[in-house]
């Protein structure tokens, strides 16, 4: 359960409870019962079915939707299942070897300019492919965006840059250019930003290394800048309605884990009766980094974030035993209850409670794919004043609705980007 520790907010909540008649909260009762989670019913006009299962390659704690992709302005379409929903990245990317059979127009750098490619970096590798233009529909809800720049990962026309020609930086790390290597048929980045790279890729000289490329020919791609409109876009930002953010709504998962979970991906915040902020507490993010501060066991971590694309809660705690075979995860002898205090750019603070179970015990049931108590280590973070990470991943989403508002949108008086739950 969660609790707000901001005095002003607590007063508002108390006032609200009083106005509601109070029910069972008599004088002397200090702890209200846990909030009852409401999960919106999938369907039009703004709710998509969200599923946690093993996916195409047998992962854990990965939430998927289906997406329909069409050649712009036509009914020539392909629907792809098992697209990972990632509130920690931006943009729709599809794996060519799904197989993806449509021929989408190539996105160019400016009208009549050279075709563009992108190297999408992840901590564990990178994905390379051409930029394409598509019409996108979420098939369950009917939400639609036209002429969206997307990435076709593993597009065989374009060899991965190795940095061997003048002006070309390598696409670094291990290539994740197939469904097998990527772990999903695609990824739907619905994070806090409207574009994937933002202003940092728009005008630096020289261009950012190993991100966007201009391709006079497929084998001669060179580092390039990309304006905001040329970058891979957050599809939600380009919806005609319900375009200011998303809510991930997943039911609670028990201590041992479970085979599969079904919930909802809701589009828009405060745009309809089914996506109101309600009692959720808002944590505005740093508008440049998307980070909030997480204070855990007396240490403030400046690079905190809530991220459906992380399959565990990842943070530093030297008192937790690390696993021997499940490298990078925690394996305490008994399940530990932990709590962090989250704070955005305002004074409001919010408790983030979670538990840490033995990851090797969890993984021993090979048919389970959803765990609410999976946690892992952070690589030794840079010292202050650099940002130190605290990553609340998909386990944190089970049992509570988590809002991610996109930059530039004002919801209930708060400017995005923000998290709320």
């Amino acid at each position: 359960m969660r609790k707000s520790v901001a005095p002003a907010l607590a007063l508002i909540q108390l006032g609200f409870l009083a106005a509601c008649g109070g029910g069972g909260y008599g004088r002397g009762t200090t702890t209200p019962p846990p909030p009852t989670q409401m999960i919106a019913t999938p369907g039009p006009p703004n709710v998509e079915t969200l599923t946690v299962d093993a996916g195409p390659t047998g992962g854990v704690n990965t939430a998927f939707v289906s997406v329909q992709i069409c050649v712009p302005g036509t009914m020539t379409c392909q629907t792809i299942d098992h697209i990972e929903v990632d509130t920690g990245s931006t943009g729709l990317r599809i794996l060519a070897d799904v197989p993806f059979t449509l021929t989408l127009p190539q996105a160019t750098n400016g009208s009549g300019g050279p075709p563009m490619t992108e190297c999408l970096q992840f901590a564990d590798g990178s994905s390379y492919g051409s930029l394409r233009v598509a019409d996108i529909t979420l098939p369950g809800s009917g939400e639609h965006a036209a002429n969206v720049v997307v990435q076709l990962i593993g597009d065989s026309t374009y060899p991965v840059p190795t940095g061997t020609i003048t002006g070309q930086s390598a696409c670094p790390g291990i290539a994740e250019n197939s469904v097998q290597a990527f772990g999903a048929n695609g990824i739907l980045g619905v994070g806090p930003f409207a574009q994937d790279c933002g202003g940092g890729c728009a005008a630096p000289n020289p261009p950012l290394a190993g991100v966007y490329y201009n391709c006079a020919s497929p084998s001669t791609c060179v580092d390039a800048n990309a304006s905001l409109t040329e970058q891979v876009a957050n599809p939600v930002s380009m919806f005609t309605t319900d375009n200011n953010g998303v809510i991930v709504e997943l039911p609670a998962v028990g201590a041992a884990g479970i085979t599969t979970v079904s919930g909802s991906l809701v589009f828009g915040i405060g745009t309809r009766t089914n996506n109101a902020l309600g009692m959720a507490t808002v944590l505005p993010e740093d508008p440049n980094s998307g980070f909030i501060t997480a204070t855990y066991k007396g240490i403030a971590y400046a690079a905190g974030y809530i991220d459906s694309g992380s399959n565990g809660n990842f943070f530093t705690d030297s008192s937790l035993t690390q696993c021997t075979t499940a490298t990078g995860f925690y394996c305490p002898a008994s399940t530990m209850s932990e709590s962090a205090t989250l704070q955005g750019t305002t004074a409001t603070m919010l408790a983030a409670d979670f538990s840490v179970a033995n990851a090797e015990t969890l993984f021993s049931n090979a048919s389970y794919t959803a765990f609410s108590n999976l946690a892992g280590t952070i690589p030794n973070p840079p010292p202050p004043p650099q940002a130190q990470p605290f990553d609340l991943g998909l386990p944190f989403f089970y049992g509570q609705n988590v809002f991610t508002a996109i930059e530039g949108n004002t919801v209930s008086g708060t400017m995005g980007p923000f998290f709320a739950y």
């Binding site: 940095g163 950012l208 290394a209 990078g328 280590t377 990553d391």
Partner: protein
């Protein structure tokens, strides 16, 4: 005693035209200069009795640190910033080990990678616009070296 000096990246960019791209882990100070040229960055060097740190701030904002033994051998590297540096260049002859380990199934998804091999330890994390990581060769570490100094 700390020793700090700063070299402007622009001075050494000219070198990069002829310089082969070799680096870092397992290499010597020459490889640091080559990295500097390739990353078009500014260099800051800090020395202690036990090791020297070359810190390169690239033009695109990523900070790369290379840790050298008194015998001039790069035993560790680290990075943090908006993009990941070219790991083939950073890891040098250790890249093959990294490639083999990272290509195997790993439990951390796209946000976290931890590799522990006899010859190479690598930790990588972060998300779009904010990455960090470090790698070291255990058998090259100076005596009494604390891993928390790789940051």
């Amino acid at each position: 005693m700390k020793l700090t000096r700063t070299v402007l990246g622009s001075i050494v960019v000219a070198v990069s035209v002829a310089a082969p791209a070799f680096a870092a882990l397992g290499g010597d100070a020459t490889s640091v200069q080559l990295d500097l040229a390739r990353m078009k960055g500014a260099l800051r060097t800090t020395s202690t009795a036990r090791f020297t740190v070359h810190e390169i701030t690239t033009s695109y904002g990523t900070v790369v640190r290379e840790y050298l033994t008194p015998a001039d051998k790069v035993f560790a590297v680290s990075w943090h910033g908006p993009v990941i540096p070219d790991l083939r260049q950073m890891l040098g002859r250790y890249y093959g080990q990294y490639e083999q380990a990272a290509s195997a199934p790993h439990p951390g998804g796209h946000r976290h990678l931890a590799i522990e091999r006899p010859g190479l330890v690598l930790q990588s994390g972060g998300r779009m616009r904010a990455f960090y990581g470090r790698a070291w060769a255990p058998d090259l570490l100076p005596q009494n070296f604390s891993l928390s100094d790789i940051n």
